[in-house]
């Protein structure tokens, strides 16, 4: 079915739902690369006006990618809860935006709505939201998860301490993790991206992080972000695996590019649960996503990259995760060209994830070939804190020396605490005081690398002078 809008005598037509969605998407290089973007701002507005008039039900009646050929579409269709959807079932996309903005749509109302929403529905409404709308609506929808720390409580901000090292050196990882802890970072997870994906290295890294956690008695979780099949093998050998990680995308074909499907993710989730490390009512799955990954794998079905990203959240939602984050600026300028596109995409991803009920975090980041810099990251972090983001990722001095990109610095988490009043998870906040990293007011004491006495147990892991 075709869609049309007439603006001052000019009729704009859109041959089908996915082209309407693509042309209504705020400008980004990935959709232009795919050849599906609006020709210019007027055609984009025409598409947004047509999209705003569309009944929400349209997205339940028409699939952008057929269920018969894609297990993610099938999952989305099977999991849709018609009863939860009922309060908004008669609305158009435009009226749904207004409904979401009203004060009556508070936390409990939005939480009850989540099972009735699909990725396509939330992607559609996000396309006609300004940044301020994306912030205001997401801020009303806290999503709380728990393992050893409680993440996502209103008014708080957690962090992933990401102590990567170019060759996975145990000592290099350890000093970087300690540097983050001394700056108060790591209550969401201490998570390493391994340079290699071998089973022995995976096991060595989780054992190292487990030793660090136990010696310091840190109320947090750790993770080696290796491939999920490696995690399954490691769990089979009794390795101390806290979080089971996988990158996921919004179509079956794109997930195949990552070497996974829903079946292997289910197997991993069962193995993780069986370890019994996580409380029975807690969460332990961790997913990363990012706009552009489906196009990059030539698995986007002509659907715009932001909708494909929201579809990845349906995959994540199936596994009741502890953490989900978009790695928003990592993919490069052919998908998100500059700071403006990265900032908008980060807020869209957070908004869509939260509306779908995910514990959404963001890796606020950029590469050196994108037209972005640290100031864009300052803006995105501040906006995300206003939007109530569950967690962000921090590395020493904003420089990830393994993945060669810039994320936030541990300092940025301190900024969020001291200037924006975002405390870490309550368990971690208490621990920081106890070990003397922060003072009675929760303010950082040091920052220059001096290990407090309580870290003596951990410093014995280190070589040389500090031993």
């Amino acid at each position: 079915m075709a869609y049309a809008t007439t603006i001052e005598g000019t009729c704009f037509t859109f041959p089908d739902l996915k082209s309407l969605m693509a042309k209504a998407t705020p400008e980004r290089s990935g959709d232009q690369l795919a050849g599906i973007a609006a020709e210019g701002p007027v055609e984009r507005l025409a598409a947004q006006i047509a999209l705003a008039d569309l009944p929400l039900k349209t997205f339940l009646e028409q699939e952008l990618i057929p269920s018969e050929e894609d297990e993610v579409s099938d999952l989305i269709a099977r999991r849709h809860d018609a009863e939860a959807f009922a309060p908004v079932s008669s609305l158009t996309v435009g009226a749904f935006r207004e409904w979401l903005l009203r004060t009556e749509a508070d936390g409990p109302v939005l939480a009850a709505l989540s099972p009735g929403l699909t990725p396509e529905l939330v992607a559609a409404v996000s396309k006609i939201c300004r940044l301020q709308d994306l912030v205001a609506i997401a801020a009303k929808r806290p999503v709380v998860t728990r393992f050893r720390s409680t993440i996502g409580l209103p008014g708080r901000l957690s962090t992933r301490n990401q102590p990567n090292h170019p060759t996975d050196s145990s000592e290099g990882i350890l000093v970087s993790a300690l540097d983050g802890l001394l700056m108060g970072s790591g209550d969401a997870v201490i998570g390493v991206n391994p340079a290699t994906d071998s089973l022995p290295d995976y096991i060595r890294i989780v054992e190292l992080l487990e030793t660090l956690r136990l010696r310091l008695n840190v109320p947090t979780q750790h993770c080696c972000l290796g491939h999920v099949t490696v995690a399954i093998e490691a769990m089979g050998r009794g390795a101390p695996v806290d979080l089971v990680f996988q990158s996921v995308a919004g179509s079956q074909k794109a997930n195949a590019g990552f070497g996974v499907d829903l079946t292997v993710l289910r197997e991993a989730a069962q193995a993780g649960r069986a370890l019994g490390r996580c409380p029975a009512d807690g969460q332990f799955m961790y997913f990363e996503t990012g706009q552009g990954s489906a196009l990059s794998a030539e698995a986007h079905w002509g659907v715009d990259q932001q909708t494909m990203e929201a579809r990845a959240y349906a995959v994540a939602r199936e596994f009741d995760p502890l953490l989900v984050n978009t790695v928003v600026g990592f993919i490069g300028p052919e998908y998100l060209y500059d700071g403006k596109q990265i900032i908008r995409a980060g807020l869209e991803d957070h908004f869509c994830g939260k509306l779908l009920g995910l514990p959404m975090g963001v890796d606020v980041c950029y590469t050196n070939h994108a037209d972005a810099d640290g100031e864009d990251m300052d803006a995105l972090l501040t906006l995300l804190c206003a939007a109530g983001v569950n967690f962000v990722i921090t590395v020493p001095g904003a420089d990830d020396v393994m993945l060669n990109y810039q994320s936030l610095s541990h300092h940025d988490a301190v900024f969020a605490r001291q200037t924006l009043g975002r405390a870490p998870a309550p368990e971690f906040e208490a621990w920081l005081r106890e070990v003397g990293v922060t003072d009675a007011r929760g303010l950082l004491r040091g920052g220059a690398g001096d290990l407090p006495g309580a870290f003596a147990e951990a410093s014995r892991l280190l070589p040389g002078k500090a031993a």
Binding site: G172, V175, Y337, Q406, H411, G449
Partner: protein, 250 residues
């Protein structure tokens, strides 16, 4: 009592910017400005055009003949947005490559990629060292191809037109903050347009403080020997010798 332990003493264990110090939540001024300088250098590496004439002069000085081609990309801004165009040969290149001859064991392409800095510093010595190894191995070598606005896969149409058994693409890698001079190397057997990246083998981080040119070209030679013996490259290449690098993943 001895001084309490400090991560400042352990900076040698990682290149990560640990123990920076903080003033409130802020960075020390010197660290902040140093970060800005590193970013400026990385941006410069991305946006500075490669000077192909200088590369060719340096190759001539090494006794190596060369030709120059470009992709269908018009400028750096388009290069960043349109990787598809950077993989295809500009029509001007047809005549250039037909004059260069056909039927070689090996073609070497020097491509600007994402870091002209890396190419300017490392590509000519790497190409010369590989050419010397090819000579010792008795492999015929096509005139070197200097390619601008080029992605890795531009090596495929170039190798195909030269009818080369294998093509080695030496290309500037995406600059990191701490290193903007890394050269990457992609080796493909039986190149033809449209090959997936899984058909290539990759060696990365070739630079002064990374993988040395000597070690990198030794790996390239080992890869080429394995490819010529097995008549394939990429994920299917058996790597019996542990030293052989793996398939390209990007």
């Amino acid at each position: 009592m001895s001084r309490p332990p400090s991560l400042r003493d352990l900076r040698s264990l990682t290149q990560a910017r640990i123990a920076l110090g903080a003033h409130g939540a802020g960075w020390p001024t010197a660290a902040s400005l140093a970060f800005g300088l590193d970013h400026a250098r990385a941006r410069e590496a991305v946006w500075t055009p490669l000077d192909p004439a200088a590369i060719r002069e340096a190759l001539t000085a090494q006794g190596l003949a060369s030709v120059e081609i470009r992709s269908n990309v018009a400028d750096r801004a388009e290069y960043l947005r349109r990787p598809d165009k950077g993989r295809t040969l500009h029509p001007d290149g047809d005549a250039v490559l037909s004059e260069a001859g056909q039927g070689f064991d090996l073609a070497i392409v020097i491509a600007d990629g994402l870091s002209a800095t890396a190419v300017a510093l490392n590509a000519v010595p790497a190409a010369a060292a590989l050419a010397a190894r090819a000579k010792r191995a008795g492999w015929s070598l096509a005139p070197l191809v200097v390619a601008t606005q080029a992605r890795v896969a531009l090596g495929d149409p170039v190798g195909a037109r030269l009818k080369a058994r294998a093509v080695v693409v030496l290309i500037g890698e995406r600059p990191g903050l701490s290193a903007s001079d890394s050269l990457g190397c992609y080796v493909t057997f039986s190149p033809e347009p449209g090959l997936p990246d899984s058909r290539r083998n990759c060696i990365s981080n070739i630079r002064q403080d990374g993988l040395s040119i000597e070690a990198a070209t030794a790996q390239m030679e080992a890869l080429l020997r394995a490819m010529f013996a097995q008549r394939l490259s990429g994920v299917g290449l058996r790597r019996d010798e542990a030293a052989l690098p793996g398939p390209a993943t990007a």
